[in-house]
Amino acid sequence: MDADGQSWKGRQRLAHGAAASAVILLAAVWVWPGVAKLLPVCPIRVYLGVLCPGCGATHALLMLLHGHLRDAARFNALFVLLLPVALWFAGECYRRAVSMRKFEWPKIPAAAVYSLLAAGFVFGLLRNVA
């Protein structure tokens, strides 16, 4: 097998491992919500005392796993809105890692990426000011 083939096999194992880990982690959070407390504390919140755009995402995910959409949005509305996009992105990365001999990340238009970044900053600003 050539170097590309070996790297492809390794990548497939990595993708399967990452997908399995994600499913196990989600199942663990669903069964035992206390696992969220083991995650690292946001350094921005600890050192600067402000909520970053990602603060509350873990709790929002926890609420979503238990079907509480409104509570999830209360913890982090932007995360809830972006979750379908994130799931698509993760699924597409997995599909490419498993099926493509030479891996390429999914292409997202630069305008969409910058809009996402701007939305994050605006959301971060508003949730601290409001």
């Binding site: 170097a3 690292p40 946001c42 990602g54 990426v113 970044l117």
Partner: protein, 231 residues
Amino acid sequence: MLYHISREGQNYGPYTLDDLQRYVASGNVLLTDMARAEDGTEWVPVSQIVGTGTPPSVGMAGVPAPYPEVGVPGAIAPAGVYPDPPNLHWALVLVISIFTCGLFGVVWNFVQATWMRRVNPRSNALFFYIGYVVVSFGGSFLRVGMMAASGFRNHYTGIIGIPVTVIWFVLLELAFFDMKRSMEEHFNGPEPVGLTLSPVMTFFFGPLYFQYHMSRINEVKRMARYRGAAI
């Protein structure tokens, strides 16, 4: 004097003799490739121009080198083929990192450092990142352990927290600057694109700044391949 290189019907260059020697040393130009002086008409093997025992030389950077594909007849080794840098928009790396409490950022540091070590084995950034993860996560567990031992009454853990923070910060910056050195070494050597990285940007934005340049370099390589004169 300048030389043109021909391989498999593709022409490259022109290159100075210094560059040619450097590309032969790095494996990007093969001794079996054909060369022609710019003012001449005769094609001769590269070995007749640079000799067979060419030492690596330090020449000017910024001149694209041929980028042989795996399996090119006569290729001495696939050493001249370097994997492309990780290609994800820097802003996307930032956004995903924010929404994963920085965990994706840590993983991405490893992706970059692993790639760097594959193309430049002298890179030590991977080891600095491992040290950073061990110290920072170990410190967090130690802090939680101390808090738990006091029944969560004592939240002051500065005795542990401050030295741990200083150590992981130093390790992180060492990793950043090692990445900077390795990238500049590689992209002004075997794959010359004339890369210069700012120490200030490296200090403050490290992996995001590298990612910006990696995406840019990927684009340059893609365009060069498209034109048939890949670097």
